[in-house]
């Protein structure tokens, strides 16, 4: 057989494949639907659990469809378990950390991206290593350090720790956004006599607003979600956060699943808000951060 004939055979095979496509397409839609169901179902179950009465929750055999809907579990999160102070602590710690991280990481990222920094490569390497450190390796010595300063069980210790711990990722992310900017704008600003700080605040920052947004959202969510740092550094309602509060539902009599599910749903709400309104920023942050990391 000549080469041409072989090629023709190849083409005809590919045509046959193309004619069979509808089956392939159906299979791909099936995968898409199954993926969506697997992703959503555990969360729907948490939501359903949080809206059931306790009698309905502990029914055997399990009722998959709830018989009635109630807000009782949400009320008991606040009335019986008094989690409002935990919620408040979590909000304060997360928001303050976002402000501190942004204020510190932005100039740092700018210096790393644009200014001559002796040892800059070492700093970059250290930032990468810091991203790898297991949180527990940090929490153990921090417990010792903060206890010697009498700072255990304070919001300050949490904010300080989260600011340092979230800084490497934020700096890395912001640096990527700054490097993508055309340098000409900054150069002409410098020619016009704008100082470095003014260039950063008035010219660079507005241009990388999406980057700042992405880093703020990621910092917020990872601080909001933190469990281990709060678990080790706090011991009372003074500074305990909502994820640690979740462990309060585990009592010697078992787990009070209704209020636990309600508190879990409350923990997820900010994630849903950000995913809905800032999906672009989040994907950009995660993918850019990942790609550059």
């Amino acid at each position: 057989m000549s080469d041409q004939a072989l090629q023709r055979a190849g083409v005809s095979i590919s045509f046959r494949v193309r004619r069979r496509l509808p089956i392939g397409l159906m299979a791909r839609y099936a995968v898409l639907v199954v993926t969506i169901i697997i992703t959503v179902f555990p969360l729907m179950w948490l939501l359903i659990t949080s809206m059931r009465s306790s009698a309905d929750l502990f029914a055997v055999p399990v009722h998959i469809i709830p018989t009635s809907v109630t807000a009782k579990q949400y009320i008991s999160v606040f009335s019986q378990y008094r989690l409002s102070s935990y919620l408040w602590n979590t909000v304060i710690v997360s928001l303050t950390t976002v402000v501190c991280v942004t204020a510190l990481a932005l100039p740092c990222a700018y210096a790393l991206a644009r200014l001559r920094l002796p040892g800059g490569r070492v700093v970059l390497f250290l930032l990468l290593i810091m991203r790898m450190i297991p949180v527990v390796a940090l929490a153990i010595p921090l417990f010792a350090v903060f206890s010697s300063f009498g700072m255990l069980d304070t919001l300050g210790a949490l904010i300080l720790t989260h600011t340092a711990a979230k800084m490497p990722v934020a700096t890395w992310l912001l640096m990527g956004f700054i490097q993508d900017l055309p340098k000409e704008v900054e150069e002409s600003a410098a020619v016009d006599g704008a100082g470095t700080l003014r260039t950063l605040v008035q010219i660079v920052s507005p241009m990388i607003a999406p980057g700042i947004g992405a880093s703020a959202v990621i910092t917020f969510l990872f601080t909001w979600n933190d469990f281990l740092i709060a678990l080790t550094l706090t011991s009372s309602k003074n500074a305990q956060t909502l994820p640690v509060g979740l462990t309060n539902f585990v009592t010697q009599y078992g787990i009070d699943w209704g209020p636990m599910a309600a508190a879990g749903v409350m923990m997820i709400v900010p994630v849903l808000i950000f995913v809905w309104f800032a999906q672009g920023l989040l994907v950009k942050g995660l993918v850019t951060g990942a790609v550059r990391g």
């Binding site: 839609y29 995968v31 200014l115 720790t161 699943w257 994907v283």
Partner: protein
């Protein structure tokens, strides 16, 4: 113009000596670096020192032990069990997540209706607190009231001791981790697939290459950078996993799901043996460093060896 040259140029233009232009960089980076040095690098150095001592928080005296904390770790059955658990957990979740993530990404890539919705939904699990996921899966795996056993019961299948059997408990913890992290890899691979050059793919389809062949010889080599990043992220994070396990099983039953980080936490806060705990947490870090350097080093060595 390079950043360094420009910084010097700016310095010259304004009559500032170059050293001042240099120190300007550190004035901007300084506050961030100081905070990280004080609250990140210093504690790590502190715990590195701690790992060579019999460290007692309350008493003033700390005895120097040399490497004893490290050698003791490798002699303790609890640590060896946590090492075994970690290897199984990291290996199983890494493999499942990468294979499933790639499979799903390949199949749903393209012009499908509902792909946008799927992308939005896939973003949710990786962003949820692992502690909430741990508790939620503990509830799903509950052997009396849980959903999974209810489904098995309805299908008249044998029930599974999800969290009470040591082997199943490790599987259950892995399932929770896979549920949370596979979506991130799907998103990453989708982004990678969408940035692939079209020519080689079209050429392959004209040549009549099978889908399987196209994947192995064209798509996978082109996706290698994305694959590297995915593996790197997951290697780092499986060695950092704590929250999910702690809220699902607290490392039980009988230490069956104690990962290295859980072992370090237990040593520090239940055994009050900070030196030992510090040593164990450094071993966890060393293990992920070794794996990462293998990830980067092996292909590099292969390339060098092939060239010579």
């Amino acid at each position: 113009m390079s950043a360094a040259l420009r910084a010097q140029a700016i310095g010259r233009r304004r009559g500032v000596p170059p050293t001042l232009a240099l120190s300007k960089g550190y004035m901007l980076a300084g506050p961030a670096l100081i905070v990280m040095a004080a609250v990140f690098v210093y504690p790590l150095a502190y715990s590195f020192v701690m790992s060579f001592f019999q460290w007692d928080l309350s008493a003033g005296s700390n005895d120097f032990l040399g490497l004893a904390n490290y050698t003791d770790a490798f002699g303790s059955p609890e640590f060896l069990q946590s090492l075994r658990n970690q290897v199984i957990f990291s290996g199983a979740s890494l493999t499942t997540e990468v294979v499933a993530g790639m499979g799903v990404a390949l199949l749903i890539n393209g012009k499908l209706r509902g792909l946008r919705l799927a992308r939005t939904l896939l973003l949710i699990p990786p962003m949820i607190a692992p502690s909430v996921i741990g508790l939620n899966f503990r509830w799903l795996f509950n052997e009396q009231y849980g959903l999974f056993d209810a489904i098995l019961r309805n299908l008249h299948l044998p029930l599974i001791p999800w969290l009470s059997n040591p082997n199943w408990a490790l599987v259950s913890v892995t399932i929770a981790d896979v549920w949370q992290n596979t979506p991130l890899l799907v998103l990453l691979f989708l982004a990678g697939l969408q940035s692939l050059p079209q020519e080689p793919l079209e050429a392959a389809s004209v040549d009549g290459a099978s889908a399987w062949r196209t994947f192995w010889s064209i798509i996978l080599p082109l996706l290698r950078p994305v694959m590297f990043i995915a593996l790197m992220l997951r290697i780092i994070d499986t060695f950092r996993t704590f929250d999910v396990v702690w809220l699902m099983t607290q490392g039980g039953p009988g230490g069956a799901t104690t990962l290295i980080t859980v072992e370090a936490y237990l040593l520090a806060f239940q055994g009050v043996d900070f030196g030992h705990a510090a040593a164990v947490s450094y071993i966890a870090l060393a293990m992920s460093l070794v794996l990462l350097s293998a990830l980067y080093g092996v292909p590099w060595l292969l390339a060098r060896w092939r060239r010579s």
